[in-house]
């Protein structure tokens, strides 16, 4: 008899767990002969900030529209806390959307825009002004309550769109490239505000963007889409440090791709070799530019792989500089602290653990 066999698992294991808010089950979408989404499955945890990242045409906006209810899936199901969603019309889903071009009602004032969702969903009349004002306060737009959207700047319209989508207290907020129409400075500022707002109100955000930097800055997790399929789903740190595929490694950040060979626990690439996991045969390694260091810059840790390379080009980038190196006839990029002077040939090093094996 085993003493613990029939006991429930200890509480401590469950207490830290989050529960799933939205479950996408094998969702596929086809427009005519074009397969836009290929049987995608994805779970979104309650309170999470998840970003759908991908190039244009990767299917990220389509997936968002399926969740909002503007499109019907060809196959598959969408569930939200035990309730099937994909059979419901958009106005019955507890999901709200911030549209890419804001889609504010031009014939209504800011206050009327924000009250709209409360009015059509039958919230008691006497509660509407208070909740609309609260929502506008949240995005710091209460002083513009009487203005029409056409009088507002892009950033202000963005805030109103956010207030309007949040006023119904959705379980899940969908954001379709909401910052893409803003200029760079405003965008950075709005990113910060969006992130702190999400933390403050605790609503789950599903954010769509093609901008990998934005995705990294905002998300708890990133779901990278490629041609209608999920390439990798992981936290920003994880997806950056351990890209699973060549596509991920190249799409998120910059990388060097080394086409090597693994045999007997040893990776070989050109004249270099280092210990590697027991894969066999041709392996593609991703080596981030900032993991390549100059020997001259300090202590080289034990186990580092050292090599000499020609410095072809130096690109100054403020706090760092990018070096274009030539090693064994191949181009390598390294990101190093700004150097006073460099020789034509420098000695460099990287750690075997930073060379990540990726799938083609």
């Amino acid at each position: 008899m085993t003493p613990t066999g029939s006991n429930p698992p200890p509480l401590a294991e469950n207490s830290g767990q989050t529960w799933t808010l939205l479950e996408i089950r094998r969702i596929a979408k086809r427009f005519g002969s074009r397969q836009v989404l290929k049987e995608i499955s994805l779970e979104i945890a309650c309170g999470e900030f998840l970003t759908l990242l991908g190039e244009s045409g990767s299917g990220k906006t389509t997936l968002l529209r399926l969740i909002a209810g503007f499109e019907q899936p060809t196959s598959g199901e969408i569930w939200m806390s035990g309730q099937r969603q994909d059979v419901l019309p958009p106005y019955q889903r507890r999901v709200n959307t911030v549209f890419q071009s804001y889609a504010l009602f031009p014939h209504l004032t800011v206050r009327e825009n924000v009250s709209y969702g409360l009015e059509v969903s039958g919230v008691a009349r006497d509660q509407i002004p208070g909740r609309a004002a609260e929502s506008l306060r949240m995005v710091k737009m209460e002083e513009f309550a009487g203005a029409r959207p056409s009088r507002l700047s892009g950033g202000q319209q963005q805030r109103v769109a956010l207030a309007r989508a949040l006023v119904n207290r959705p379980r899940l907020l969908l954001l379709d490239e909401p910052l893409s129409a803003l200029d760079a400075n405003l965008r950075k500022q709005m990113q910060g505000e969006l992130k702190s707002l999400q933390r403050e109100i605790g609503i789950t955000f599903l954010f769509v963007t093609h901008d990998q930097e934005e995705a990294m800055a905002l998300s708890d997790r990133i779901a990278l889409l490629r041609d209608g399929a999920l390439e990798q789903v992981a936290s920003p740190r994880e997806i950056y440090a351990h890209p699973a595929t060549r596509y991920t490694a190249e799409f998120i950040g910059q990388t060097n791709l080394l086409r090597g060979e693994v045999q007997d626990g040893l990776a070989r690439w050109e004249s270099l070799q280092w210990p590697a996991a027991p894969a066999v045969g041709a392996v593609l390694f991703s080596l981030r530019p900032e993991t390549i260091h100059l020997v001259a810059n300090g202590v080289v840790p034990p186990g580092a792989i050292r090599f000499h390379a020609n410095v072809r080009q130096r690109i100054f980038a403020g706090s760092t500089e990018q070096l274009e190196l030539e090693f064994a006839g191949q181009l390598l990029r390294a990101r190093v602290p700004v150097q006073d002077s460099l020789a034509g040939t420098e000695e460099l090093w990287f750690l075997p653990a930073d060379a990540i094996a990726v799938r083609e």
Partner: protein, 281 residues
């Protein structure tokens, strides 16, 4: 920059055109309305007697009110037909949109007169409608009031002016960004609420433009009463026509025309103000 001579030369034709074919005739009309006819000759003697005649003789006011009634009926019926059509085509017709659009436009290429005569053959006592009603034994005798009644005038003008109502309506519906409809649904509004709160208000400029077309065009129509209306549906323009024609009382005809013109211009002024207020984008 363009030279003075160039600017003058370019603006001369339109100025001449407007002056010769608009302002001058209007001035003549206005002047005539204060003159009078004595012994079959127009006398250049100033008076307001034409205008007082209009308001003293109930015949003129009756005809004016009938004309307005017909114009309002035509406007409402054209909207009733045109709006659902425009709405359906803009929001739900999908790929059939272009074909349907052509089908609405094609009748505009057919002469007004031909369409008038077509209604005559449909509504007459030997017409298609009566033939059908007798064939299915709804009536035993031909029904005479289909033709030569205000009903026939309203029917014919509604048929003719519905495309005029449809076109601006359709244009304004097509201009409504579709993501506004999605935003409305997203915020919890069903189809009916979305229509009433988003689509209808945003289509008001088009609706107003269409309604103005139908109303003003009907107000000046004189062929429909002649073709299918009969004596019971004489309209203002018929009276003007006969005053300038057989009755040879140009001053009185001019006075009526001035009244109609004032009515039309103030209506256009009003609708333009409203359209501007409702134009949001």
């Amino acid at each position: 920059m363009y030279s003075r001579t160039y600017k003058t030369l370019v603006s001369l034709p339109p100025v001449l055109w407007v002056g010769l074919f608009l302002l001058l005739p209007y001035a003549l009309m206005l002047v005539h309305s204060f003159w009078m006819v004595r012994d079959g000759v127009i006398v250049h003697q100033w008076s307001l007697q034409n205008y007082s005649k209009l308001f003293e003789n109930p015949l003129y006011l009756d005809v004016l009110f009938r004309t307005m009634r017909i114009a309002v009926s035509v406007t409402l019926l054209s909207l009733l037909l045109g709006y659902p059509l425009a709405y359906y085509m803009s929001f739900h017709a999908g790929a059939r949109k272009d074909l349907l659009y052509q089908l609405v436009i094609v009748p505009l290429w057919v002469s007004y007169l031909v369409r008038g005569y077509a209604w005559k053959t449909i509504l007459g006592s030997e017409g298609v409608l009566n033939g059908f009603l007798q064939y299915v034994h709804v009536t035993r005798e031909p029904v005479s009031f289909f033709l030569y009644s205000p009903f026939a005038v309203v029917l014919m003008l509604t048929h003719i002016y519905t495309p005029f109502v449809f076109l601006p309506l359709y244009a304004s519906l097509e201009h409504i960004p579709r993501n506004l409809v999605e935003a409305s649904q997203d915020l919890g509004a069903g189809s009916l609420a979305t229509f009433a709160r988003v689509i209808l208000p945003l289509s008001l400029p088009g609706l107003l433009a269409g309604a103005t077309f139908a109303f003003v065009l009907t107000l000046g129509d004189f062929l429909a009463p002649q073709l299918v209306g009969g004596p019971s549906s004489i309209m203002v323009a018929n009276i003007v026509q006969s005053l300038f024609g057989t009755a040879y009382d140009w001053p009185l005809g001019a006075a009526i025309s001035v009244c109609i013109l004032l009515l039309t211009v103030s209506l256009l002024f009003l609708t333009e103000r409203l359209e501007k207020r409702w134009a949001f984008q």
